[in-house]
Symmetry: none
Subunit: 129 residues, 4 copies
Amino acid sequence: MIITLDFESKDAIYTQIIQQVIIGIAKGKLQPNDPLPSVRSLASDIGINLHTVNKAYQQLKQDGYILIHRQKGVVIHPDGVKKADSAYIESLKQTLKPIMAEAVCRELKEEELISLYKEVLHEFKKGDG
Amino acid sequence: MIITLDFESKDAIYTQIIQQVIIGIAKGKLQPNDPLPSVRSLASDIGINLHTVNKAYQQLKQDGYILIHRQKGVVIHPDGVKKADSAYIESLKQTLKPIMAEAVCRELKEEELISLYKEVLHEFKKGDG
Amino acid sequence: MIITLDFESKDAIYTQIIQQVIIGIAKGKLQPNDPLPSVRSLASDIGINLHTVNKAYQQLKQDGYILIHRQKGVVIHPDGVKKADSAYIESLKQTLKPIMAEAVCRELKEEELISLYKEVLHEFKKGDG
Amino acid sequence: MIITLDFESKDAIYTQIIQQVIIGIAKGKLQPNDPLPSVRSLASDIGINLHTVNKAYQQLKQDGYILIHRQKGVVIHPDGVKKADSAYIESLKQTLKPIMAEAVCRELKEEELISLYKEVLHEFKKGDG
DNA sequence: GTGGTCTAGACCACT
DNA sequence: GTGGTCTAGACCACC
């Protein structure tokens, strides 16, 4: 699992780590029980502060993506993430709303958007691999 | 045009104003040349500082959504927004990637996602009158 | 002499009037002793406030471009404008400096700039006509 | 990099900061990746409010001159500014028009103007090292 | 009345 | 320490 950071992004470093782990899981590159690097080694590898990595891991643990064992280290959660519930669906809609609104204002057609959407989606093969 | 704010949101207030204006345009509720409330009156109406409204308006102006006439006030840009170019398409994909990745991890099926996506999209009727 | 205004310009209306009169003189379209419309008629023609036209005319008078006779109306100054002195030259340099700096940053070559510069200059034929 | 302000100038303070940074880049005094002072330290150094500096920096960022890292501070953009396009060329002509018109009215000859122009230009050595 | 600018002071997230 | 955001209050130019 390679984490690549964009230090010029508006997203915080810890947010980028979280996103990349989630993307890794969605792509099937990270399977349940797969180990993740320790806080210390990941921080060292990508040249950032321990606290930053720790914050990302704590958030991932909180969201059910990973398990943190004191001795055994960090692994992808064996049971997977909790499934989408109605609250999540609603928040997803609210997230997509302004993004889609801008796309509509820029005159992207529905077919173009659906196509672009599927293109992004098909990078993810969780369960296929 | 009604602006509703969520003061508990993690999105900045000025960001929420921007999004609501863009959504208003996408829905066709705000048409080219429609006036927007003045900085002072909007700030007063929604109970925030005029600088916060001004920041939102400046950003909307920068992105081509509105025109700001020094004395005459603010109107929706008569020529519409600049169309989607390849740079925008790419940034849109990058924006969608982590959102979709989470949805995939939560085991939303492609059909469910496309359906949800269309549901959001069909709130917008720009061009339909 | 036709005055065309851009109500979306960042320049004030009265500034635009001033500039257009000066450009008219530089182009030779406005010759010494040529009459200008009265404050009242110009304001009416272009649909703006009397005060705005008056402010422009007062400034033009102040700078020696025009004469305002109480009864005879407004005419281009018969003696021309006061010539460039060292103070003017210096202020002109300071004005050009940031404009040229931006052009250099955008990698316009010296030949391109000189060419562009001459192109603008050759619109003006004062003394040729 | 020394920023000097003219508090009597008609140009806004934040505009003067922007211009001085652009001039610094054009002169080659500010190279890609060179750090700029933090918002707070520059504000303190030149005795103005940090918001005024921030406004200048935000504009410079918007125009592609600098990058603002959330924690690491501000640097000159490593990739340079976006090159001159036809829209820029047109706006440059419109900017020069009234300036040149006044110069012509003051009977500056073409040779004098070109000479003055080159004098300003030759202060800038971007690319010469 | 409008937006443009500047100041002053505060709290927050991130590293 | 950094920038990001928000508030509060002031003065200005323009119309």
